[in-house]
């Protein structure tokens, strides 16, 4: 157990340094760096959404709305109010968290698909609001946001997200969430406060979506209401389903794969969406549980492959 943790630690540091060096020496051309950053942001978005949809079983369709909150709040703080980056990111995340509670409390109390409808509405309302607030540039959005998201921040926050959610999921709280997903009535009969856990998972997911949004804003230095359309929420959902509902490593792999795919299909324009949809259908037919199902990818898998399939 200890050895394993040390090994993972070393691998993670090595990955960080390797990419750091690759960027520094120009091995990763600036054009490709965009995809690297998108990959990190997508991992944060997918893993946090998986906590809500995959682990707790609550269909949420407005993840981009929480990314918008994190992006706008942090951008206003750094660009307009001259605050440092870290507090700006955290403020964006906390705002998303609070809005998560405000939306979650009334809707998650009810059983049924109220959350899906409410979050769908929320995503659109946020955009509508932003378009009408001149202070944040209306439809034109905020331009000239300082480019503060670098590899180190991205890597740190991606790790923070993955490990926070992993720890949460493996805690008693996480097991309560899984119990609710598996059988809400039975969870209630155990004395689990199901509304509390659903709202908790939902707002923690929103918190990390806020971080993803803040990192996004400070890398692309331009954010517009249209950036955070339903398609972005849908993208995150595709990653979660693709990777497996309830598998963190599945979400990570899927987020990387989808980022790759988007980059590869960028010249296909709207055809991209068709290919996307086709892929989804194919996955649903041949692997309805997603890449990983609810299982996690572990070092053991890796060694098993190296040992030629013996275990």
């Amino acid at each position: 157990m200890k050895h394993k943790n040390i090994l993972i630690g070393i691998l993670l540091i090595a990955l960080y340094l390797a990419v750091y060096a690759a960027i520094g020496t120009g091995l990763i051309a600036p054009y490709y760096q965009v995809n690297l950053y998108l990959m990190g942001i997508n991992i944060i978005a997918a893993v946090s959404l998986n906590l809500i949809v995959g682990f707790t079983g609550q269909l949420a369709l407005g993840h981009a709305g929480f990314m918008a909150v994190g992006a706008y709040v942090s951008a206003v703080l750094t660009l307009k109010l001259g605050q440092p980056f870290l507090p700006a990111i955290l403020a964006g995340a906390v705002c998303a968290f609070v809005i998560g509670i405000i939306i979650g409390l009334p809707t998650l109390r009810l059983t049924g698909d109220y959350l899906a409808i409410a979050t769908l509405g929320f995503g659109e309302i946020i955009r509508g609001l932003l378009v009408n607030i001149d202070y944040v540039g209306g439809a034109a959005g905020i331009n000239g946001i300082p480019k503060l998201t670098n590899w180190t921040w991205l890597y740190l926050f991606t790790l923070l997200t993955v490990f926070s959610i992993k720890n949460f999921v493996n805690s008693t709280h996480g097991r309560a969430c899984i119990a609710i997903r598996d059988n809400e009535l039975a969870a209630e009969t155990m004395g689990i406060n199901t509304t509390y856990y659903k709202v908790l998972a939902f707002s923690i997911g929103a918190f990390f979506a806020g971080i993803a949004g803040a990192l996004y804003a400070h890398y692309f230095f331009l954010i517009q209401p249209a950036t955070f359309s339903f398609m972005k929420s849908f993208d995150a959902l595709v990653m979660v389903v693709f990777g497996g509902l309830g598998s963190i490593t599945g979400s990570i792999i899927a987020a990387m794969a989808v980022t790759f795919m988007n980059a590869a299909l960028i010249n296909f324009g709207s055809l991209r969406m068709i290919i996307y949809a086709l892929l989804l259908v194919i996955i649903m037919v041949f692997r309805p549980q997603g890449l990983m199902g609810t299982k996690e990818f572990t070092l053991k898998h890796l060694f098993r492959v190296k040992e030629g399939g013996s275990s």
Partner: protein, 234 residues
């Protein structure tokens, strides 16, 4: 121990329980039998505090629990095994059982109860780290009952424990229910399988479309011509 007095329960316009009353004395096995859709699950959910009655009173050990939150009711010693797919499929056997002790803080006590549950269900001990969704139907039912026992209930509500099980397993489950009762837990058993239910219960109630239509000693009901015709296939 449990007294339900004249409750009415609605789902919107559907009047699911009509002037429903029932009593369970300490130490008894009481069964509530009725056809599909009669309102059996609704009555258990209402007693557990998952649904609220429009009127009427529910008392448990002298406390009025009509408006008490579900968690509090569990804490007071009333635990329910819901019908259908009852277990947490993606958690292990052990994690399922730990969930049953969710409201308990006494680590040592939990361990003792866990041992007792494993003694009663040795098959669960053999599968302690197995994912619960991969257990057989009978094992899942045992797990669901074991999980409910983890909260050390004084009154155990069972919602159709025989549902979907092979006859031989039904027999096994019912003899376990009897054992649990003999070890000191009072039981309210909801069943469609009237034959089995009447054979283990002390007293019985018959529910028809939300209304109690007869009640009495289980043995007497099992002999009654009317009941035989309607529920016992004779």
């Amino acid at each position: 121990m449990l007294r339900v007095e004249n409750i009415d329960v609605y789902y919107g316009a559907i009047h699911a329980l009509k002037d429903f009353s029932l009593e369970v004395e300490e130490g008894e096995i009481v069964t509530l039998i009725g056809a599909n859709g009669a309102g059996k699950s609704t009555s258990l959910k209402t007693i557990s505090g998952l649904i609220r009655p429009k009127n009427g009173i529910i008392t448990f050990n002298g406390h009025n629990i009509t408006q008490t939150p579900a968690q509090e009711i569990v804490r007071m010693g009333l635990s329910q095994v819901p019908e259908g797919r009852r277990i947490f499929a993606n958690l292990s056997v052990l994690e399922n059982l730990e969930m049953g002790a969710y409201l308990r803080q006494d680590k040592r006590g939990i361990k003792q109860t866990l041992e007792k549950v494993f003694d009663r269900f040795p098959r669960l001990r053999e599968r302690i780290h197995q994912q619960a969704g991969t257990l057989s139907g009978g094992e899942q039912q045992m797990l669901a009952i074991g999980r409910a026992l983890m909260s050390q209930p004084k009154l155990l509500l069972l919602d159709e424990p025989s549902m979907g099980l092979a006859p031989i397993l039904v027999k096994e489950i019912f003899s376990i229910i009897k054992e649990i009762n003999e070890a000191g837990t009072t039981i309210l058993l909801v069943e469609q399988n009237a034959n089995m239910a009447l054979s283990v219960a002390h007293r019985a109630y018959v529910l028809e479309t939300g209304r109690i239509v007869s009640s009495g000693a289980a043995k007497e009901l099992a002999e009654s011509e009317q009941i035989k015709k309607a529920y016992l296939g004779g």
